[in-house]
């Protein structure tokens, strides 16, 4: 157990995401043959993901150092393990109505493409903070989101980002002293 524990504890966040993806894919493959469970695919996968996170935490607790001094009733592993023990029956409890077909089926999907674009734009915008700074990055992000939401009014597409940048500069940076990232580009230009 200690070896498995050290293996998982030694992986970075991206690898953990990959493991989660694999578990979800396996879960999806397992659900597919059962026609009765198919309407609840999304809800079951949420349970699988949470249960996996609990199991991962549980496994990793075996790599925690054991205190050398005696007399300590608990360690850093006690509480995460306890919550995992609670999670198992609780997950089963949530799964039973799906198994019985008593749960409301998954909702109809909307435009996942649109959500994907928005999330992608958001991640890119955050990534760009470091290079072009918060102000320019958030202005571009605003235009992209407005465009995705079918706003074609040119005045709005220009005025909203400009007003936001001015507002955020004076309100957050000047009044509230929030040090918003200026970005390498502007830091270089401004010396």
């Amino acid at each position: 157990m200690a070896q498995i524990s050290r293996f998982f504890a030694g992986q970075g966040l991206l690898m953990q995401l990959l493991f989660l993806g694999i578990i979800l894919a396996l879960g999806w493959l397992l659900i597919r043959p059962f026609r009765k469970l198919r309407p609840y695919t999304g809800q079951i996968l949420v349970l699988v993901a949470i249960l996996w996170i609990g199991l991962l935490f549980y496994i990793i607790t075996f790599s925690f150092p054991v205190p050398r001094f005696s007399g300590v009733a608990t360690t850093g592993a006690t509480v995460p393990r306890f919550w995992f023990y609670v999670l198992i029956p609780v997950t089963l409890l949530a799964f039973i109505p799906m198994l019985k077909g008593e749960e409301v089926p998954d909702r109809k999907r909307g435009s996942l493409r649109r959500v994907g674009i928005v999330m992608g734009a958001l991640v890119l915008s955050l990534f760009a903070f470091r290079y072009i700074g918060y102000y320019l990055s958030s202005a571009i992000f605003l235009v992209v989101i407005m465009w995705v939401l079918d706003s074609r009014n040119k005045i709005e597409l220009v005025a909203v980002p400009v007003c936001w940048v001015i507002f955020s500069y004076f309100f957050f940076a000047r009044l509230l002293y929030v040090r918003l990232p200026v970005g390498m580009l502007f830091a270089g230009l401004l010396g």
Binding site: F57, T78, V79, A94, R109, I145, S151, V178
Partner: protein, 496 residues
Amino acid sequence: MMDILVNLGGGFGIMFTPMAILLCLLGVFAGVTFGAIPGISPSMAVALLLPMTFTLQPVLGMVLLLGAYKGANYGGSVSAVLINTPGTPSAAVTAFDGYPMTKTGRVGEAMGVSLYASVIGGIIGTVVLIAFAQPLARVALQFWPSEYFALTILGLTTVATMGGKNWQKALVAVVFGLLLNTIGMDPIAGTRRFTFGDMRLLDGLSLIPAIIGLFALGELFYNIEHYAKGEKFDKLAYKLPKLSYYLTVWKNIVRSGVLGTIIGIFPGAGGTIAAFISYDVEKRFSKHPEEFGKGSAEGVAAAESSNSASAGGALVPLLALGIPGSATAAVLLGSLLVHGLNPGPEMFVEEPELVYGMFASMFMANVFILVVGLLGANLFVRVTDLKKTLLYPLIFTFAIVGSFAVTSSMYSVVVCVVFGVIGWVFRRYDYPPAPVVLGIVLGSLAELSFRQALIIGGIESFYKRPLTLIMLAVAIAAVAAPIVKKRMQEKKLQDR
């Protein structure tokens, strides 16, 4: 008692000067504005105004800061009700019913109830503070870790009523929140837990960005997924209800105010736990518990009243014993220390003008919250008149900059976005997000007090201390009661 009234008279004498009135109004206005912005917590609002107090007389400085504290507590509810983006962690509970009320065109009711509940709850908290500050603080100090643990368990039982028909999913969500809360440094032994090599996770997950992500971004992603071109909000007819309307929720306001004050007294408990517990209690007392979570005025009243009252409670240990029970109280303590004042029992004797001036200013701050709320509500509500093509992007940017402001680092923003995705998934598959917040809020206190209790008194401390036993019994009863009640109803129906 007579002494208190005489001193309070002196306190009001200080407050009825143009400078004190102006500073109190300024504090409240700044507090409401900052509080309405996601990411600016009451402690941050007070800290931002702190430098302004250095040149003021101590009592006037405290008038400004207390106005900001109380104003920020109310301000958090404004964005929670209007755009489902709680400005402060405790306002997350207000959003449960406030936002559904807005969506169903009852924005006036939601804003009105939240305003009046906040004001009345604040007054209740202040009255308790004035009358019982010293004895209550001594009682709170008698609490052992086992009692704190029992208090958190009592808080966790609120999940039993939070999920409604999705109660099984709510249980999963709360345990998920409790698990997430174990990320970071172990509070007793300092073991690194689940950081995966990322040092930024050592401090655990930031609560405010997580809340903004779960509620605001989660809802936004969902709305964007189901967005139809040219979609607009229904025009909201904003009209505050008549005063008689508030009489329908007066019991909820008073009960939650008292409960919020009591919970607020315990160092570390705070307004968020107070709001969760009061919400749960009111749902149990309600004749229409099925409306909770779907737009219940009683739910909004409970959350706001207890949250506002807890601010008074949090000042009890600060003023009576010099112990800051919350982050905001710590900032206020800092302000007093800057002026060479040491809060504690002696301060009531040596500085009665300051202490009772502060009490009087809290009353006045409540009045100003009412004024700012009534005058400003018409303006606040205009935010929902914006087109979705403008409002959605602006909420995104507010959420991002608000999260950034918490720690001035991209880490908070990443936490916000990750929780936004979790919130979206939860929204899609009918998993309530509120229990995740409950788990994160209560997790730290639960773990710390549980382990401290074991170290100090062993397992016996959980069953040998009467108060712990009583609180744990109440917690068990709180979970069992709805189940037993439901079973009995089913049996009755079968018998018929």
